[in-house]
Structures are given as C-alpha cells and as structure tokens.
Symmetry: C2
C-alpha cells in the first residue's frame, strides 16, 4: 500500500473549536459539475440607488427616513429577529424544552456608497467600519451577554440588498455554537494551561502552508479543519479577547488584513465574492476569560468558479461536513492572488 497523502486519500480532520469532524475527499474534486449555477450579477451598481432602503436620505420599509450619512450608519432592524419587551417564560420538559429570549438586532451600513463592498473600501472607510463594530460591541456589551457582529454578502448568502452592510444581533444568552466553543476553549485551557487559538496561530505561522496573508498583528489562514472550500479564520498575533480591546494601532493593522483578504477573495473568481463573516470574542459577563482570543470567521460558499458553489446538503445535513479541495490547496490559491482589486485601474 502507498504512503498516506493528504492530497490524495480520503480522511477526516477534527475541528477543535466545535468538536466536529470534516470528511475530506481530495480525489473527488475531479468530478464534473452539471448542477445549479449561481446567477452572476455583472451589472455595476450605481453609487446611489433611489430604490434602496439603505442609501442615505432614502425611506426604509417601515417609512422612517435614513439620515444623509457620509460614513457608517446604524439603525434597529425593521424586522428584528429579537426584541426586548416580550413576556418571560420557559419549559423544562426534556422533549419540549423552550425559553424566551431578550435582545435586539441592528443593521450597520458600511458606507454611503451603494456600489462598494468591504473589499473596495479605502483604508479610512475600512477604519470607520471597524470602529463601528467596536463601538456597537461596547454599547451592546453593557446590556447583553453576547454581541454577534456579522455580514451576509451576496445574493448566494441570502443577502437581499447589495448596499454594503452587516448586522449586529445581541442577546442575554450564549447561542448554541458559541456555548460549544466556550466549553472547548475552557477545556483546552484547563488541560494545557494555554490558549487554544494562541497556540494554533503560532503553529500555523511555523508551517506556513495554510496562511493567506499576515502582518505584524494579524493572520488570515484557511484552518486545518475548514468546512467551506475557501473558509478562513482571522487571528491576532497578540493577546486580545474582545473587539472592545482594539487600539488605534491594532484597528489599523486589522483593516489592512481584512482589505488584503477580501481583495484576494474577489480576485479568485473575479467577482464580488459572496460570504458570511462574523466575530467571536469572550462573552460580556465581566469575567477575565484567559481561554478566549478574538477572531473572525469567513464562510464563503463558492467552490469552483463565480457560479458554482458547494452545497451543504444530504450527507452534510445527516452525517458530517464533506469537502473536496484541501485547505492547503485553498490557501495556496488565495495566497497567489494579486493584492490589487480586479476592478481597480491599477490591476
């Protein structure tokens, strides 16, 4: 029998943040694709769209008028998934267990310019977005245990408006995926007397094969256990537990890394690369949480081209995540992209 090769032989990798395995079938990437393709939007959006609910000065769905904002803009979601004034209740029957929730959902417009995406913001505009993530986390972290900052980008990710924007949902409970991560980080800390993600980033910097971009403060890499074909993790190279601890300096270096990563994403298939991204840091419970390390996940659905995505269906919904292209191959493809956006005149 031949020697085991990660590029050739099916194997499973373990995700220490979730406790789940991922099935990797590298030889499968050769299969032809005859299924659904995503509609490609190749029209260029205008900088202002009078029909857009998020453009400055326009009316929103509920009739309120947006201010004529010229940087970022935050408002309460008109169809919030959470609210904070309902009655309280809970049920402890093991087969019909429930509890009411308390929280709020906000929308954050990244820029007044309808035509841009995060990948196209200039450094100053990018700083405004990071500053808004930070100040919203600060504000909502005073009222709620958990503040989930995220962005759904692109129609393929259920985003219904191309105007550059993200969301912030905050509530008084730890959501399922975070509760699991909390437990796993704490277990590792107790067992190894060190920080899981801190240890991990060091090991990755030594191995280099899964790094996409890095600077003095931050690293973007395709994790060893990635689920989505071009999934990445943005990790700090210094000790930071929550978004609220960012300084002028680490905000600036973070802006650089997010710019460098999202430009490479767009360049990979020469399209406005769809993804869901979001931040995880220590809960706002007043505790120290030495087991935590602030980080962002990017989950992009595309697999082979701007129009062919990975479907998380049958086997994935019933058994285990499966992927074809290896994380090492994905990182190499992203790393070799130009640092200049394909739509820029300098490309």
């Amino acid at each position: 029998k031949s020697q085991f090769s990660t590029d050739e032989h099916p194997h499973r990798r373990f995700n220490p943040l979730t406790g789940e395995w991922v099935l990797l079938s590298p030889h499968r990437s050769k299969r032809p694709w005859q299924g659904q393709t995503e509609a490609l939007d190749l029209t260029t959006a205008p900088s202002y769209d009078s029909e857009c609910f998020l453009c400055p000065g326009n009316k929103r769905i509920n009739g309120e008028q947006n201010p004529k904002y010229d940087t970022t803009f935050v408002f309460q979601n008109d169809f919030a998934a959470l609210n904070s004034d309902g009655p309280k209740a809970q049920g402890e029957d093991p087969l019909f267990r429930f509890e009411t929730v308390e929280g709020e959902s906000r929308v954050l417009c990244f820029s007044p310019d309808h035509s841009l995406t995060l990948a196209q913001l200039d450094p100053e505009a990018m700083q405004a977005v990071i500053a808004a993530w930070q100040s919203q986390s600060e504000l909502l972290g005073k009222k709620y245990l958990w503040v989930q900052v995220f962005e759904n980008k692109g129609a393929a990710m259920g985003c219904s408006n191309p105007h550059p924007h993200g969301q912030i949902w905050a509530h008084n409970h730890l959501p399922t995926l975070v509760a699991t991560k909390q437990q796993r980080l704490a277990d590792y800390y107790q067992q190894h007397h060190s920080n899981l993600l801190g240890d991990y980033v060091e090991r990755e910097l030594q191995q280099e094969v899964r790094i996409v971009v890095s600077n003095h403060d931050w690293v973007a890499l395709v994790p060893y256990w990635a689920s989505w074909p071009f999934e990445t993790l943005v990790l700090p190279r210094f000790d930071i537990r929550r978004m609220t601890e960012l300084t002028a300096e680490t905000r600036e270096s973070l802006g650089e890394i997010i710019g460098a990563l999202t430009v490479r994403y767009d360049n990979l298939f020469q399209c406005a690369f769809p993804y869901s991204m979001g931040w995880h840091g220590a809960p706002f419970d007043g505790q120290d949480h030495p087991e935590w390390c602030l980080h962002a996940h990017f989950y992009p659905p595309l697999l082979r081209s701007a129009s062919v995505k990975k479907f998380m269906v049958g086997y994935e919904l019933l058994a285990e995540i499966q992927r074809d292209i290896t994380p090492e191959q994905a990182a190499a493809r992203l790393r070799e992209q130009s640092p200049i956006h394909y739509k820029s005149s300098h490309y």
Copy 2:
C-alpha cells in the same frame, strides 16, 4: 406584560437529538423578500433522456453502460467520496488531529422513468425503493459500521441530475452528527429507562398539532425543534431500530406515509419540492441498542414559495439556527394539502 404566545414572541426551542437550540422569531415572517429567488423548472422532463447518465442503457461519465433496468438500479459512485483501499494513518496532535477513512458510496436509481420523483411513484415502485434501501443496508451493514441512506432532490439541494435517485455512503466510523445523536439517545435511555423517540412520538400523537400524516405504523410530523421551515421527521409507532428489520407489512405502510408526505410537499407550493432526506438507525456493531429507533429526516429549503428559500447564513453559521414560521404553523399548512398530487389528472 402580555401572556407568552409561541406564535408571537421570540423564543428558543431545544433539540434533544442534537443538544442544539433553535431561535424562533415568529413576528419576523412578515418581512418582505427582495433577495435571491430559485430558478423554477416548469418544463416537464421526458421519461427517457438520451443525455442522462442514469437512464437505462445510457453511458455513465466513466464510460460504463447502465443495464436496461426496469425497477431500481444500484451502482458504485463514479466520483466516490470514500474508498476502501487507501493506506491507514492518523494523527493525535490536538490541533492537527486526523484519521483516514474506509468506505464506499453508491448511487440508487429509484425508477427507470427519468420524469418521475418519489412523490409520483405508484405504490409498487415505492415498495421497490424501500426494498432497495433495506437490502443495501443489509449488504453494507455486514461490512461497515454506518450506512447512510439519503436523497438530495432538486437543483436547490445541489442535485445535478433530475433522474430520480438517492445515494448510500457506508463507512467504518460514526459520522459527527450520528455520534452526537448516539450519545444523546443513550443518555436519555439511561436517565429515563425508555426510548427518547418512542416517548416523543406518543406525546406528539396526543398533542396532534405537529402531525402531518399518520397511519397504523408510522407518523410524519414537524418536530417541535425543527430547523428548516417545513422540516419533518418520519417516526415508527412500533419498536424498530434498523432499516433491516422492516417486514413486508411495515414496508407497505411506510411506502404509504412517504407517498402521503411527499405529495403534500409537492402540493404546498405546486412544484417538485426540493429536499435532502435520509435515514438514521442503530449502528451495525452487533449490539442491541434499545435506545435507538429507526427514523427519517426530511430537510426542505423552501420558505415562502417555490422560489424563495430559507438561507442558513450569517447568524445561523456563527451563532444558532433561526426560523420564522413556527413548527405548528408549518404542520398545519402541510396537513391541509390535498392527498392527490397536483400533477395527477385526479387533482
């Protein structure tokens, strides 16, 4: 403050099979949808397509020729995610843990007729499909610990060929989601000295509100903790742990229930309702497993119409599954559908 109402107030429900919570925001179903819609295929497929890799007598991608089959037909997947002749290896580093896998993947054509779906099979053809699920489970269960029978139906679920077919992946490890379920079923059995799903189906039959269809042997219902808008669970009303224990009688009554459920699915939005479905039963490890109960999950992506689906994105990928329509509302809508398929001349 008003009285808590499941139809009005955001709350979370606990899934005892996964240990995960689902955030329910019923008031949110009023928001308008301006995002991506699914392409509707309203052409009627021919009964035989000379370009189809799965039709009887045609050549497959790898050049092999299908027999002129007239009922079901099983073959090894030409681009299998698993194979059984690779080298063995594993790594125990907690941050870079991996293991090789052993298994095989097969394709099961449900019918020689290219134009049909499970919902349109006559009772005899449906029996052939169930018999094939059972005999494949029997065969592969002798060689492997886990046999995953599933179907991806429709382009929205990553299915690249409309010819009615499912898949069977078998391997010598318990996949992530099954390992979790195994643990939770065993815990409940130990704590309550009874079977979780057995107890659950009895309670649901008393409450009635989440039942879609039932007969003497089987029930299809929208579980209390459903993630997908019209997700259902098919449960037995008798003691059965694995697909291999089906009898002529319970196969027949199962065919009835699958027919009744899939016809209602198709009728709901008058389309070939997309879904991923699959079976879970006790592992093939020679043990008794009194904690297990054979059951099927149906995970359909559609939310509001044949062209608007639920996106499991941002918040769902980073925090917790969120749904708008309640399971009780979903069950009521499915229950009220005609038992006659909308494409049938008797509709």
